[in-house]
Every structure is written in structure tokens, then in C-alpha cells.
């Protein structure tokens, strides 16, 4: 029993990271109907910016929560700017083109970021300093959670709640909803569609960067290709929950994380990467719109 509960804690930790990345996919898809394949690489950049920020702030020597927060925020802000630049330079010029052009552009940006990362940071893995001193907190029933895992879960959920508040209760959030329904109508209502799209990219990139730093906190190995697999899996998580749906991305991410950990713990680690795609196939067969998605009839 305690083993199962411990696996559940591990799964939720890993799943909340997927959820954070999946949010970016889902938001961009909701607004642009574009699958931003470069999103996983923004997550990688977030981790690297976090690495350099923690060196800059000397967060590895006598770690304290304030410095750690500073590292997280620096990474989120700079990644948001990178997200803005990517949107402006790569996606905006092809926005009026067929959807396939945008998709291929996204793959191109992804390759550019990965190989640019190799050029900039080197192909060998780098190691994230311990910016939070590790401590174990017993939860009873033989289950322990480390303060790092707790931080990952807490920060992820705080960001998700903040995002929900942003989308539902602020002016810019309402504008985002309007744009996701209809660009033209939103523009006629006086909403600057371009700015809302850019803003969405910035928020999504900031969340991915947060995921990057949170993962690096726990598993300190970071390298330029680290975003490919988590990016793909988070995309599957977004589809699982219903792409374009924010609570769906969170639930999809958690399911994905828990499923991976359970498969590794009870079956075999070789199935770890396979389970994501098994889930994808199952959901596409059973409920193609995703758990929370509404099936929309395609107008022909």
C-alpha cells in the first residue's frame, strides 16, 4: 500500500510538470489552431536560462528560497520574451497561409532551437546546481515527499490556478477567450488580435520555462535535446484532456505522469515511453475529442 501511495506521489510530481507544458500547447491551439512543436524546446531553454540565472545569482551556494524564486522568475520572464520573438518572427508571417505551412514552420523552429542549443550550450549534458537544499517530509503510511517534489507540485498548481484566474476574470483573459472563438468577430469588437496572440505565446512559454526549472530542480541533468520527449508527451497529454481545454490539459498531464510512473514501477521501464502513445491511441479510438473536449462537427 505504501509503495503504491509513494508511486502516486512520484506520478503526481512528474504529471504536474507535463500539465504545465501541456497548458502551453493547449492555449496556443485554442487560439490559433496551431500545434506549436517548438514548445518542448522552450521548456529546454527555460531550464538553461535557469542554469545561467542560478550561476549569476549564486543560488547554488547557501541556497535560500528567495534566490530560488528569483531564478524561476528570471527564467519565466526571459522565456516569455523568447516566446514573443518566436511568434513574431516565425509564426506571424505564416498566419494567413494554410495550416500545414504553420505546422512545418513550427517543426523548423523546433529544430532551430535544438541545434542552436547544441551550438550555444554544447552537446554534453550540464548539471543544475541544487538551488533548494533537499529535505524529506514524512507523510505517514511510509510515504515520504521531498521538499523539492512538494515545490514542483505547489508551484505547478499555483501557476495553473493563476492561469485560470487570468483567463476567466481579467480583461486580457476574456479577450483571449473571444479570440479563440472567432478572430474576425474579436477584431470587430476592438480587440487587438495580434497582441492577444503574442500574449498567449508569452504566457505559454513562461509556463514551459517554469516546468523546465522545476524539472531541473529534481533531476539536474539538462541538455539541448531534453525537450523533445517531454514536449511530445505533453502534447499527448493535451490531446488526452481535450486540446484547447485548460482543465483538460492539467488532468491529461496528471494522468500521463501517473501512468508512466506506475508502468515503470510495476511493469518495466522499457514501456515508459510507450505508455504515452498507447494512451494517445486509446483516447483517439474511444473519445477523439479528449476527456473534456466537446466534439465539434466539422463544417464541410
Amino acid at each position: 500500500m505504501s509503495e503504491f501511495l509513494q508511486q502516486l506521489v512520484n506520478g503526481i510530481t512528474w504529471g504536474s510538470v507535463y500539465a504545465l507544458i501541456a497548458l502551453g500547447y493547449t492555449m496556443v491551439y485554442g487560439i490559433l489552431r496551431l500545434i506549436n512543436f517548438a514548445h518542448g524546446d522552450v521548456y529546454m531553454l527555460g531550464a538553461f536560462i535557469g542554469l545561467y540565472a542560478s550561476r549569476w545569482f549564486r543560488a547554488g551556494e547557501n541556497p535560500n528560497p528567495f534566490k530560488a524564486l528569483l531564478v524561476l522568475l528570471t527564467s519565466m520572464v526571459l522565456s516569455a520574451l523568447i516566446g514573443m520573438i518566436i511568434e513574431r518572427l516565425a509564426y506571424k508571417p505564416v498566419r494567413k497561409s494554410p495550416r500545414l505551412s504553420a505546422l512545418i514552420t513550427a517543426i523548423g523552429v523546433s529544430l532551430l532551437l535544438e541545434n542552436g542549443g547544441v551550438l550555444l550550450f554544447g552537446a554534453s549534458p550540464r548539471f543544475f546546481p541544487q538551488i533548494v537544499a533537499q529535505e524529506n517530509i514524512p507523510l505517514g503510511l511510509g510515504v515520504t515527499i521531498s521538499n523539492q517534489q512538494l515545490i514542483v507540485i505547489a508551484v505547478s498548481f499555483a501557476l495553473m490556478v493563476a492561469l485560470r484566474w487570468l483567463v476567466l476574470h481579467t480583461k486580457v483573459g476574456k479577450a483571449m477567450q473571444a479570440v479563440s472563438h472567432n478572430h474576425m468577430a474579436a477584431a470587430l469588437m476592438g480587440i487587438s488580435v495580434d497582441r492577444i496572440i503574442t500574449f498567449t505565446f508569452m504566457v505559454g512559454s513562461a509556463l514551459a520555462a517554469a516546468a523546465g526549472v522545476l524539472v531541473a530542480l529534481q533531476t539536474p541533468k539538462i541538455e539541448p535535446y531534453m525537450g523533445i520527449l517531454p514536449g511530445l508527451k505533453a502534447f499527448v497529454a493535451a490531446v488526452l484532456g481535450g486540446i484547447g481545454n485548460i482543465p483538460g490539459a492539467v488532468v491529461g498531464g496528471l494522468i500521463m505522469g501517473i501512468a508512466e510512473v506506475m508502468v515503470t514501477g510495476y511493469l518495466s521501464p522499457t514501456y515508459r515511453d510507450a505508455i504515452a502513445f498507447v494512451l494517445l491511441i486509446v483516447i483517439l479510438l474511444v473519445r477523439p475529442a479528449g476527456i473534456f473536449g466537446k466534439a465539434v462537427a466539422e463544417k464541410v
Partner: protein, 400 residues
Amino acid sequence: MKLRHGLLFTAALGAVLFAAGCAGSKDELVIGEYGSLTGGDATFGLSTKLGVEVAMAELLTSKQGKIGGLPVRVVVEDDQGQAAEAATAVQKLINQDNVIAVIGEVASSRSLAAAPICQSNAVPMISPSSTNPKVTQVGDFIFRMCFLDDFQGRSVAQFATQNLGLKRIAILKDVKSDYSVGLTEYFSAALKEMGGTVVVEQAYTAGDQDFSAQLTAIKAKNPEAIYIPGYYTEAGLIGRKARELGINVPLLGSDGWESAQLLEIGGDALNGAYYTNHWALDMPEPKLQAFLKTVREKTSGTDPDAIAGLAYDAANVLFGCLEKLAADDPATFKALASSKAGTPERKTATTKLRDLIAQTKDYAGVTGTITLDANRNASKPLVVLEIKGGKKVFNTSINP
């Protein structure tokens, strides 16, 4: 006009090719080296390169970098830590760079990918530090400078049961690594023989980020120690994760842990861990201490790891054999340098070189005395290192 340009171009190309051909036929001894200069276990390749560089630098000061009057040149190829790339790298070394012998690899899976190519081209390959028995079984052109995994796995079992008094041991292995899978087999068999039990066997794949699921499953079985035969990056990450999950039993490792980065990755989590290695830096051996001094001067104070020491020994054994060939059989030696890859003259010459390497006996290296047996393996004592207060300290040594 256009035609004239075309002719000019062809003529220029011809001239360049001719010049290149001339440059290639200048007599020299080209030695190939392949290793992971980048990737998840990059210190393996970089340390091997360092060891060979030190040997080259010494050859340069003692003999102007020449053996038998011919200059020696080392060509290094990066295999990015991937078996498929290792095969490509060795192909290139043999066919394009025209090497007479190859030094590499550290990881057994990559040595196993490259060895058949060296064997079929009759180019001697010396692996400084691949410990899996299968490596030298590929053929009679494949040699190694280190001990084997059957001995290494047995030694860990012996150390755990006799020196530490631990019987219930869990294993966490890399399923895709020949090295890790091999060690797991030898260790399990030896442990059972010595009255211990493997309580649980879990697996990971190199490059994995998260080990919490496997370690939680291990924790549930309450082992007295965890054996992690694998490479340093994963060992460090696993060590940290284990402590995070409240697992405080000793961790046992293998010579794949030997890297300066091990402690950088694992940090305090690895204190109290033990691993088997080819040397301990605090051993008083004069040859080892002299090598340490040279490397510290070259790298401004950084200590080499045993991987560098083994590569240094491999290069020196090879240089010694070339010297001997030049002295004993100048005709073959000359043919070795002047012939092209794939020609019968080259094959006769490399076979002579191979025979000389196979005769290596009582060579005093920095990693111990090297004598190659009939299976082209070195039999050497092994050292158990303990990680104590962020330092690797000699604990005991075990003889084969």
C-alpha cells in the same frame, strides 16, 4: 566561355586531388582513437583523449614524436556516445585516415560495435577500459588493458558480503548496456554463491531523467544495499533520487562511475557509496604518482580519472610494440607505414603488429602491471573506492 571555365575547374580539381594524394603517401604512423567526446558520458572520451595526449607529449620530448624514424600522428573521432556512431567513426579511421591501429572505447556497447570492423580489416584495436568479456571475444585483433566484468561483479559481491556484511541487495541496471547487463549477471551469480540474495532487480535506460518509480519499488523490498552497475551520470542522478526518497542504505557501483563529474552530479547523496575501480589516487605507486604530477601540470591542477590512466597505458603499450617492430623487422615496419588500408602488404604488417601486442608481458603501467593472456585480456587487481566527505578514498584492493 562557359566551357573554358569548366575545363579550368576540372584542371584545378585535378591538381588539388593530385596534391592531396601526394600528401597522403608521405610515410607516417597514424593511430586512430574514437570515443565519446560529447554526450551523456563525455568524460570517458575526453579522459581517453587526455591519456593518449600525455603519452604523445612524452614521445615528443623523448623522441621528437617519432618511432623508428617515422612521425606518429593520432587522429581522434567523436562517436557522441552512440554505438552506431562508433562503428562509423572506426570505418572512417580505417578507410580514410589509413590508421595502423585503433585505441578505444570505454563503453563496452560501443567497443562491441566497432570491434568487428577492426577485426575484419585486420587492424589491431586496443580498448583501454571496456570490461565486458564479449569485447575481446570478437576476434584476435581486439585487446584490452583492464580487468573483466566477471571478476568485477564477483569482487563487488565479495566486498558486500564479507567486508560490509550485507546480504540482501537490490540491483538497478541499465537494460540497454552490455556492460550493465553483464555485470548484473556476474554479480547475481556470485552473490548467490556467497549466501546473499538479490531482493529485487529494477532497470532503467541511459538518458532517463526520472528514477523515482524504480527506487520506490526497490525501497518497498527493504534491501541492505543497492548495486548500480552503470555509468556516472545515471549513478549520480540515482544517488540523489534515492536519498530524496529516504533510502539511506549504501550504494555499490562499478568502474563506469569513474569520472570527475560523478560527485558534481551526485553531490552529498553519494557519501557512503562504494565502487570498484582500476586505481585509487592515494595509492603510493611511483608510476601512478608521476603520471598524476604530469597531468596536474598539464591541466592546471585537475586530477585525471582511471580512464585516462588506462588510455595512457594503451598508447604506451602500442608505442612499445611499434618500437619493437621497427627494431626487429624494419622491412615490415616500413611496409606498415607506407601501405594503404586493405592491401595485402598492410595486412601482413598489421598482423605482425598484432602478434607483438599479444606478447605484452609484465608491462609496468600506471594502472598496474599488464600481462595479456591467451584471450588478449589483462588480469589486474581491482580497487574498491569509498566516497567519504565528497572524496574518493581507497578502501581495499581485491586480487583476481
